[in-house]
């Protein structure tokens, strides 16, 4: 397997996901096959090919620094499961 169970647990932790044992098995297998698939690229000779910064052949897409009205606060907070005092309310963040 190109991805170990430890790798999957680490990624799950960074992603704030709790996995059951079955899920751990499944993701280890699935992620391994995804990585193996992508690893086929490693067999290609890229000597002299510049690293790709963007898949499309575009550059310098800018906008002018001109202000426009923002959204109504109601609209912005519409999907928040919990809100208070014009803010999204989340469980206490310990610093």
């Amino acid at each position: 397997m190109s991805v170990s169970k430890e790798d999957v647990l680490h990624i799950a932790k960074l992603s704030k996901l709790n996995l059951t044992d079955e899920e751990l098995e499944m993701y280890t297998k699935d992620l391994s096959s995804i990585v193996d698939f992508a690893n086929q690229l490693s067999s290609i000779d890229v000597e002299g090919v510049k690293p790709t910064a963007h898949i499309l052949n575009i550059q310098n897409v800018f906008r002018k620094d001109v202000m426009q009205p923002s959204f109504d606060r109601e609209e912005i907070l519409k999907n928040a499961p919990s809100k208070d005092a014009g803010c999204i309310s989340v469980p206490k963040v310990v610093e």
């Binding site: 960074l14 208070d84 803010c87």
Partner: protein, 477 residues
């Protein structure tokens, strides 16, 4: 105890003073009601397409050129992934391996010694939102107004050796950013803040010690005090045989204490990858040179000019040019009254003291350059004495009235009428025969007493030169 060397590098975050956010048209202005400067782009809704604000590139290039960096002709943006409620996208758009500016330096002055501090890089990135702790419910409230306000992060080389150097570096950088007009540098509002990376090592040791990082210091005092605190703490740990842990320190400015934040062992696994929604930034020589040719006069150049053009001492030129605000004030006032030394003295003296006491900046004062110039003109023309001028200035500072009005309203015009002064002098001489006798017996000090009496009679308004002249004439008759 061994001698230790302190190694400090600063990461300075400067919010750019653009009108709009980095990738959308929402306002960047400070202090609005929570979540009223937000749209689907800056709140990280799925399916939106960010487009980079052209001013962000321009301002970052300006900052890079002013700090002697190389400007990258090819640059890209990357996603820095981490989960925190102040970051609705769950990644910060930043720059990883191809930042806009690389390899510059800044010269600082510490106690008269010049020192060069290397600048590793300057990159563009977006700010995060603000978290407010709700004491009543115990929850955390998220205000996303600051999400995606554009920043530049200026990363120094580990060339800084103590708190004084760190503060001098920060002051120099602040002054340059203000001159460039790319950041309002209001540290109390967090638009200029810095992270301090600090380690210590015994003198002579080659490898660096383990470093700690303290985030988001937003005053010179906090930077200074944290560095002193953390230096002493690390030396003490090592002297007691302990080891420094690589951790993030949180600085409590009120208590003057730093303490370790809960260790986040995975925190630095940011899984950077190229931002697929944003196109690479390719800058032509023409673009870069155009910005370079139009950079404003920088503080050290202005300082030289002040010394040459206005014959000001280096000390004065240094203080006046350390902030663009005081330099502008100086130039405007001097344009009117054409007395550079007098303007400099006021700005550095009583005016500076009163600004400090009020904790405001020169452009927030009620005294305008025109008002100060008028006051100096009144002194130069002999309308008021310099002693009275101090009193007038205090009035101007409090009320914002102009000097002439105050002088007229309070009847502070200097008495230069020889006849009137002569009468007073004669009266005082007659009332003080002992002083006259003392003077004639060779006690020159007696004259000072008599002048004092006359000034007292006129509430300080008599022209001192005339008083002196007449007094000597009368006594020596």
């Amino acid at each position: 105890m061994k001698d230790y060397e302190v190694i400090i590098g600063l990461e300075v975050h400067a919010e750019l003073s653009t009108n709009t956010k980095m990738y959308c048209n929402c306002s960047t202005s400070f202090g609005a009601d929570p979540n009223t400067h937000c749209c689907p782009i800056c709140t990280g809704m799925p399916g939106v397409l960010p487009v980079l604000n052209e001013k962000v590139v321009e301002y970052a290039v300006k900052a890079g050129l002013a700090t002697n960096c190389d400007i990258s002709r090819f640059s890209k943006q990357d996603r820095k992934n981490y989960f925190y409620p102040d970051l609705p996208k769950a990644y910060q758009t930043s720059q990883y391996d191809l930042p806009l500016c690389l390899g510059g330096h800044l010269d600082i002055n510490v106690n008269g010694e010049k020192k060069r501090i290397g600048i590793t890089r300057i990159h563009i990135e977006e700010d995060a939102g603000k978290l407010i702790h709700d004491a009543y419910t115990g929850d955390t409230l998220v205000d996303m107004n600051r999400c995606a306000v554009p920043l530049i992060e200026i990363v120094s080389e580990p060339d800084i050796r103590n708190a004084d150097e760190a503060v001098a570096y920060m002051q120099t950088l602040k002054s340059i950013l203000e001159y460039l007009n790319v950041c309002d540098c209001k540290m109390q509002e967090g638009s200029l803040r810095c992270d301090v990376n600090l380690s210590v090592r015994p003198v002579g040791q080659k490898e660096f010690g383990t470093r700690t990082e303290t985030k988001n210091l937003n005053s010179f005092k906090a930077i200074h005090n944290l560095i002193e605190f953390e230096t002493n703490r690390q030396i003490k740990v090592i002297e007691e045989g302990g080891k420094i842990k690589q951790e993030t320190i949180r600085w409590d400015d009120a208590k003057g204490i730093g303490y370790a934040m809960r260790a986040k062992e995975d925190a630095h696994d940011y899984r950077y990858f190229p931002e697929p929604d944003l196109a690479p930034i390719v800058l032509s020589d023409e673009y870069v040179n155009n910005i370079k040719d139009n950079l404003p006069e920088m503080p050290h150049i202005k300082k030289e000019r002040y010394m040459k053009e206005f014959s000001l001492p280096e000390y004065d030129a240094d203080i006046l040019t350390s902030s663009i605000k005081s330099a502008n004030f100086f130039e405007k006032a001097n344009d009117i009254c054409n007395n550079p030394k007098a303007v400099a003295n006021w700005i550095m003296g009583d005016f500076a003291r009163m600004l400090n006491e009020k904790e405001i900046e020169i452009d927030e004062s009620k005294v305008t350059p025109e008002n100060l110039a008028e006051l100096i003109n009144l002194i130069d023309k002999g309308t008021i004495s310099s002693k009275i001028a101090k009193q007038v200035f205090e009035d101007m500072f409090e009320s914002g009235e102009n000097a002439k009005e105050i002088v007229e309203k309070k009847g502070l015009v200097q008495m230069s009428d020889e006849g009137a002064i002569k009468e007073l002098v004669e009266k005082v001489v007659q009332a003080n025969p002992q002083s006259i006798a003392d003077y004639k017996a060779g006690k020159d000090k007696a004259i000072g007493f008599l002048v004092g009496q006359i000034m007292k009679e006129t509430k300080g308004k008599a022209n001192p030169q005339i008083v002196n002249k007449l007094l000597l004439e009368i006594i020596n008759k």
